[in-house]
Each structure stands twice: as structure tokens, then as C-alpha cells.
């Protein structure tokens, strides 16, 4: 148990350090969501200035997903390019324990974007963030980040057979921004969209963050968010086992 926790912790730290040295993941991870946040702030300021606080919190979490979706989709392909995938798969540790900290590190990088979006909104648009329950807010944010990282883990292992997985990960950026209620309340969507939203942990994480900031009851949302994250991880581990078995049997791990 201690060795597992150490592996997860060191893997997370190592990949956070590595990602912060990449301009694509570092600089762009902060700047790119800011463009969308800026547009959203302008739109809400023009139409519903009262909703700017709502938009600011949502826009800040958008960056966490943006930092995860494309990068997680390409996580295994990146190991292929580096020539390290075979080594990691052959390591005595379960491959899921190697990959999970990678995607959680990607989501963690999104915290830069989250903070910068809130500061951007405060400085340029005068959006004050009032947090009623600081303790719950401070629990909700990392829980959401970890749950998004776990969703990224599921994406990473689901796209393992595709060389162009980054494009599939990139494709999921807008839909999750849209239907998880980051910038648009779920009531605006058709009824058939809502079950899809409910199956996504970022929806609940976003609600937990908003509830804790606005003084509501975030704990149920927080629990669902964490529960869904664990479910993604469980499914991901099953998928990892299946794809590794298939890859070994057919000798297709490198996809060459």
C-alpha cells in the first residue's frame, strides 16, 4: 500500500515537473482557456452582468479540462514516440499505477489556468469571487482536479489503439465545456443531454465548487464527483488489462 502510494505520488510529481517545462502544456495551458474565458466574460457582461461570478468559476474549471483532454488522449502515443511504452508496460508495477499519475498531473497543470482565469476576471472585468465555505471550496477544487484526471485516465486507455488519439482527445474539449455546465446552466439543454452530463464527473465537481462558493451544500456533489472518478479508474484498469493482454498476444503494443 505504501509502495503504491509512493509510486502514485512520485509519478505525479515527476510528470507535473515535466509538464511545467513544456511551453505547449505550460504557457498554452494557461493562455488558451483565457481566450475562451475572455469571450465568455464579454458576452455575460454585455447580456447578464449578474452572472459574471457564475461564468468566472465555470471558466476557471474549463482550463483544468483543457489541460487534460488533448494531452490525456495522446498520453500513450507520447510514450510510444519516446520509446518508453514497452519499458513501462514491462515494469513490475501495474501499468495503471504508472499511467494514472500522468493524467492527474495533466489535470493539476490546469490549476495554473484556474488561478490565472480567476485573477484575469478580477483584474480586467472586476469579478469578485466570494467564497462562503472556504474549507469545502478547498476540498472541492482538488477533488474536481483529481476526478478530471481520472476521466483523462479512462480516455487515455480507451484511445490506446489509435495513433491519432490526440485528435480524439481534442475533440472532447468543447463538448465537456458545453454539457458539464461550466458556462451554461444545464437547464438550457435538451432533456436527453442531462443524463450524459450527470455521467461526467466535471459536472458534479463544478457544482460542488459553485455550491461551496455560494454557500450551498456541496458535499453531495463532491461525493458523486469522487465516486464517478473512482468508477472511471476502475473501468480504466479493466480496459488496461484487456488491452495489454491483447497487445502482448498480437505483438501490437508499438502499433508499428
Amino acid at each position: 500500500m505504501r509502495r503504491t502510494a509512493r509510486l502514485l505520488g512520485m509519478g505525479w510529481l515527476f510528470h507535473v515537473k515535466m509538464l511545467t517545462r513544456s511551453s505547449f502544456n505550460g504557457v498554452l495551458g494557461i493562455v488558451y482557456p483565457l481566450f475562451f474565458a475572455t469571450v465568455a466574460f464579454f458576452m455575460y457582461r454585455a447580456g447578464s452582468p449578474d452572472a459574471l461570478f457564475y461564468a468566472s468559476l465555470g471558466a476557471s474549471v474549463m482550463g483544468v479540462w483543457a489541460a487534460t483532454s488533448t494531452a490525456a488522449g495522446a498520453a500513450l502515443q507520447r510514450e510510444r514516440w519516446h520509446g518508453t511504452l514497452e519499458l513501462l508496460v514491462a515494469a513490475p508495477a501495474h501499468f495503471a499505477l504508472v499511467l494514472l499519475p500522468v493524467t492527474i498531473a495533466m489535470a493539476t497543470i490546469g490549476l495554473y489556468s484556474m488561478v490565472s482565469t480567476l485573477v484575469w476576471g478580477r483584474l480586467l472585468f472586476g469579478i469578485h469571487i466570494h467564497v462562503e465555505h472556504w474549507l469545502l471550496f478547498c476540498l472541492s477544487v482538488p477533488a474536481t482536479v483529481v476526478a478530471i484526471g481520472m476521466l483523462g485516465f479512462l480516455l487515455a486507455v480507451s484511445f490506446v489503439r489509435y495513433r491519432t488519439a490526440w485528435a480524439l482527445g481534442n475533440l472532447l474539449e468543447y463538448p465537456v465545456w458545453l454539457i458539464c455546465g461550466f458556462l451554461v446552466p444545464l437547464t438550457f439543454f435538451p432533456d436527453w443531454v442531462r443524463p450524459i452530463s450527470w455521467a461526467l464527473a466535471p459536472t458534479w465537481g463544478m457544482q460542488a465548487i459553485r455550491q461551496s462558493a455560494q454557500g450551498g451544500t456541496p458535499i453531495p456533489d463532491l461525493l458523486v464527483c469522487v465516486g464517478l472518478g473512482l468508477l472511471y479508474t476502475t473501468i480504466g484498469v479493466v480496459v488496461v488489462d484487456r488491452f495489454l493482454r491483447a497487445a502482448r498476444a498480437r505483438a501490437v503494443l508499438s502499433l508499428t
Partner: protein, 261 residues
């Protein structure tokens, strides 16, 4: 004759060789699905915020998405050559530079036209906007001119690719600037004055405005000035890009820095 051949055949070959985008696994998510979701995202934010009509966002985002194929593709024509270790060989040839580089822009413009047109048609149908049939040819021309203008800007970012290695980051930042400044989602009147002033010198601004007016029933003649302005902006960015490439090519020969970026 050899210049024309270089322009058409060279451009098409380089485009196909440098991009793996004939693969449906990249083409469909990037060019077909993503623009539709971008349109839906801003349509719903617009509904939630209570500003502008669905048509405003469909037109703005469909045209703005032309920046993805145009800016990214042009940028990668230089960076891609470096990645393939062929940049030195390309620049060592005696081929005339205008057909060499502009030839690469032709398939990019056509691609940008189809991507933006598809986004406009499908996004509009999904959201349920109606555009008068008489406006369609005019809007098609506007999309073509807008794709040309974005490609002109792409040639400039391609030139920067001779100085900087991470062109993907650069192209994404250019895309974001176009998203914020050009009135794709925020009316220029709602932007600060300095932003709307900068927007006048960017591709998309005049094209989006022209397309919106045509969709609202304006005559083609009444938006002629906007279309001409869009074309002029594209031409100027193209000239800036071409000149910069020539200067940097010359510099790279003097300092032997072509592969160092």
C-alpha cells in the same frame, strides 16, 4: 510554365506530404466535428447570457474556424519541413520563392473554405437559423475571401516558424486572438475601443461582418467594401509573411541558423 507547375503541383504535393490530414481519424474530429461544437458552445453561452441571436454565433464561429485549417496549415508548412529535415533542401533550390510558398497556400485556402462552409451549413441547420437563398452565393464568396485572409496571416506565422520551434503554441495563440478580437462572438461595439481598432487589421473581422449583413438580407453591393477590406487585410498579411520569410531565409544563410530555431 515551371512556375505554374511549382505553384499547383508543388503546393498540392507538399500539402499532402507534410500533413497526415488525409487520415479520417484527424480530419473528421478536427475539421468536421470540432467546429460544430464550437458553434454550439457559443450559441448556448449566448442564449444563457441573453445577447445576440443564434445566427450571430453560427456565422461568427463558422468563419472563425477557417483559422484552424488556414493558420495551422500554413504555419506547419515551414515547421513541417524542418521536422522532416527538408527545410534546408527546399530553401537551397533555385525555384522562385513566390510560386514555391504561395503554391502551398492554395490547397490551404480551398480546405479552409470547405471547413468553414460545412460548419456554417451544419451548424446553422442544427441550431435552426434561416438565411435567404439569395444570400448564399455572396456568403460563399465571403467565406472564400476570409479563408484567403486567414491564410495570409498563416504565412506570417509560418515566417515566425523560421525563428521559433514551437509553432503549435504560436498557432493556437493566433487562433485565440482571432476568437477574441474579430467580433466572432462579441460585437465590436461591446469590445474596448483599442480592441476593435486592432480588429480592423485582422483577418475575419470584415468577412464576418459582411456575412452577417448578407444573412440579414443586405445586398451584395452593400458589403462590397467589407469584402474588399477583408481581401486587402489578407493580402497585406501575406506580403508581410512572404517578406519576413525572405529576410529570415537570407539571415539564416548568413548566420547558418536555419535548423537552429
Amino acid at each position: 510554365m515551371s512556375s505554374a507547375r511549382l505553384f499547383f503541383v508543388g503546393g498540392l504535393l507538399s500539402y499532402r506530404a507534410l500533413f497526415g490530414w488525409l487520415s479520417p481519424w484527424i480530419l473528421i474530429p478536427t475539421y468536421v466535428v470540432a467546429p460544430i461544437f464550437q458553434i454550439l458552445l457559443f450559441v448556448y453561452i449566448g442564449r444563457s447570457a441573453g445577447v445576440q441571436s443564434d445566427e450571430f454565433y453560427v456565422i461568427g464561429n463558422a468563419l472563425q474556424y477557417a483559422a484552424i485549417p488556414c493558420v495551422f496549415a500554413m504555419t506547419n508548412t515551414i515547421a513541417g519541413e524542418r521536422d522532416q529535415n527538408t527545410l534546408g533542401a527546399v530553401l537551397a533550390t533555385p525555384a522562385k520563392r513566390i510560386p514555391l510558398f504561395l503554391g502551398r497556400s492554395l490547397p490551404v485556402i480551398v480546405n479552409g473554405f470547405f471547413v468553414a462552409s460545412f460548419a456554417f451549413i451544419v451548424g446553422g441547420a442544427l441550431v435552426g437559423i434561416s438565411v435567404p437563398g439569395s444570400a448564399v452565393p455572396g456568403i460563399a464568396l465571403v467565406i472564400l475571401v476570409t479563408a484567403f485572409a486567414c491564410t495570409g496571416l498563416g504565412l506570417t506565422t509560418a515566417a515566425v516558424g523560421l525563428l521559433a520551434r514551437d509553432t503549435a503554441t504560436l498557432a493556437n495563440i493566433v487562433f485565440g486572438i482571432l476568437l477574441v478580437f474579430t467580433g466572432a462572438n462579441v460585437a465590436l461595439s461591446d469590445l474596448p475601443g483599442w480592441m476593435s481598432t486592432i480588429a480592423q487589421g485582422l483577418p475575419l473581422t470584415h468577412g464576418i461582418e459582411a456575412a452577417r449583413r448578407l444573412a440579414d438580407g443586405a445586398s451584395f453591393a452593400s458589403v462590397g467594401g467589407l469584402i474588399a477590406a477583408e481581401a486587402l487585410v489578407g493580402l497585406l498579411w501575406g506580403l508581410v509573411g512572404y517578406s519576413t520569410i525572405r529576410v529570415l531565409e537570407w539571415q539564416s544563410r548568413i548566420h547558418a541558423t536555419l535548423e537552429r530555431a
